[in-house]
């Protein structure tokens, strides 16, 4: 029972002379983990940014759950159910981890023209936030400021915030980067657990993680899709091995 939740048609984006997205077509099926890999500078982040509304494509369509959402502002993408994490960590440094996530919960829960009630005491915001922190293993540190935790911990926070917006689909830009082995392993299992009700688009250079998680893999080189399919077919694809994986093992 698989129909595409996200469909990308003929997407193009260039910066001056650099063609970062070159006629990309892609379909992501409901409930799958779809990995996006490719050499550095292939245009993966650029693609994610377009899918999250931070960049506007030069041409092409983005269709999410049957609706064309191309050209809408970033917050509308998120409202439509598409959330992202950032490759270069982007959190509220001056706030505690809990507040960071609570902010995302609040954003999800509708408009915020509420001037009177103390939001820091709202159970409706705090409790789910704590749960998401627990999910990524940060619950103990929930009262630390984001600027005071280590790089890897901030990467985990990044994921928790994306989760907290309760998206139908998560766009994760190198979630494992900067995380230690144990943390990566934990994240892999978290993501696997999400699989039931969320669709994931995962950009990652950690091939262990990719092959452990992905149902489908799309390979991007110089902005173009060069291969797309099951993990095994990709692993054995000669072109992919040369351009990305390297000749020998994995």
């Amino acid at each position: 029972m698989s129909h595409p939740i996200l469909e990308v048609q003929q997407l193009n984006k260039s910066f001056g002379g650099v063609i970062a997205t070159d006629n990309v077509d892609m379909r992501v099926t409901q409930g799958e983990i779809h990995a996006l890999i490719g050499p550095n500078g292939a245009g993966k982040t650029t693609l994610i940014s377009q899918l999250s509304g931070l960049l506007t494509p030069d041409s092409g369509e983005i269709i999410f759950q049957g609706k064309t959402i191309t050209g809408l502002p970033a917050y509308e993408f998120c409202r439509a159910g598409l959330a992202r994490s950032f490759q270069i960590t982007s959190v509220f440094q001056e706030m505690s981890l809990l507040d960071n996530v609570a902010m995302a919960v609040q954003a999800r829960s509708g408009h915020s023209f509420k001037f009177w009630k103390n939001a820091k005491k709202e159970k409706l915001l705090r409790e789910p936030a704590l749960q998401y922190l627990e999910q990524v293993g940060l619950a103990e540190r929930c009262n630390w400021l984001a600027s005071e935790v280590s790089h890897g911990e901030r990467r985990q926070l990044e994921i928790a915030m994306a989760l907290a917006t309760e998206p139908q689909m998560l766009l994760l830009d190198e979630p494992m980067a900067g995380m230690g082995r144990e943390e990566s392993a934990q994240l892999i299992s978290t993501l696997n657990g999400l699989k039931k009700d969320k669709t994931l688009l995962l950009v990652e250079h950690d091939m262990d993680a990719v092959f452990a998680l992905a149902d489908t893999i799309t390979v991007l080189v110089y902005g173009r899709v060069v291969a797309s399919g099951e993990p095994d077919s990709i692993r054995n694809n000669e072109q992919v091995r040369q351009a990305y994986l390297g000749e020998d093992d994995n």
Binding site: N40, G41, G246
Partner: protein, 233 residues
């Protein structure tokens, strides 16, 4: 060449390093491994004078580093590839490379822009792009290139392969191997244990700001309990 003894470092009132010790010999590659938030970056920042340690000794080629400003430490021959890349966003790739380039010790075969571009051909196509417009991986290459262009004797790599494609990562290990042969000492923080074990001579495992284990690659390989307990492998 580099000796760290009894190092204690605080952030405000919370202590991040407890009696830290480590040593890097000439031409040696040493790793510092541990889970997130254990104090690896703090150690490196303490060495570079970015975070001032409150007590302890750090000597490099016999010079006491504590109390020196970081530019003086760098000029002694330490090259840093920082966590999170930290390239200069408002400089072009070319400028990022040459702005801080130096050859303080007049090395015979110094790193030049050409050599760096040979190592990272991807950068050659981006020479006039502003630093912050690069992709994550390109930025990482640039950060490495930038450090090499200061022609250091001791290279400090803090998660230098984060976000690099497998192929590039492999290239980097290869070139580090070459650098090691050329006599460069390296202190590396990374999570790719397999690669590290091939490259490095010795390893330090750090847990909650303390060294809890040290030994050679072989010893580490033979000691699954360490890997299990501290590295979660």
């Amino acid at each position: 060449m580099l000796t760290v003894e009894g190092l204690n470092t605080f952030y405000g009132s919370s202590q991040a390093l407890f009696d830290m010790q480590l040593e890097v010999g000439r031409g040696e590659v040493v790793t510092l491994i541990g889970r997130n938030g254990m104090g690896k970056t703090t150690t490196i920042h303490s060495i570079m004078g970015i975070v001032p340690p409150s007590s302890g000794r750090i000597t490099y080629k016999g010079v006491e580093l504590i109390g020196l400003p970081s530019y003086k430490i760098a000029r002694l021959g330490l090259g840093l590839v920082p966590e999170g890349r930290q390239i200069f966003p408002n400089l072009t790739v070319n400028e990022n490379l040459i702005a801080t380039a130096a050859n303080t010790f007049s090395k015979a075969n110094p790193w030049t822009r050409e050599r760096v571009l040979e190592l990272f051909p991807a950068l050659a196509e981006r020479l006039t792009s502003m630093g912050n417009l690069l992709s994550g991986g390109e930025q990482q290459m640039l950060a490495l290139g930038r450090a090499l262009m200061t022609n250091p004797d001791l290279l400090l790599l803090d998660d230098a392969t984060e976000g690099l494609a497998p192929l590039v990562r492999k290239d980097i290990w290869t070139s580090l191997q070459a650098l090691k042969k050329a006599g460069l000492s390296i202190l590396v923080v990374d999570k790719n244990l397999a690669d590290l074990m091939k490259l490095a001579d010795r390893h330090y495992v750090i847990e909650k700001g303390q060294i809890v284990w040290q030994g050679s690659s072989q010893e580490l390989r033979d000691n699954p309990s360490i890997k299990d307990r501290y590295l979660g492998v």
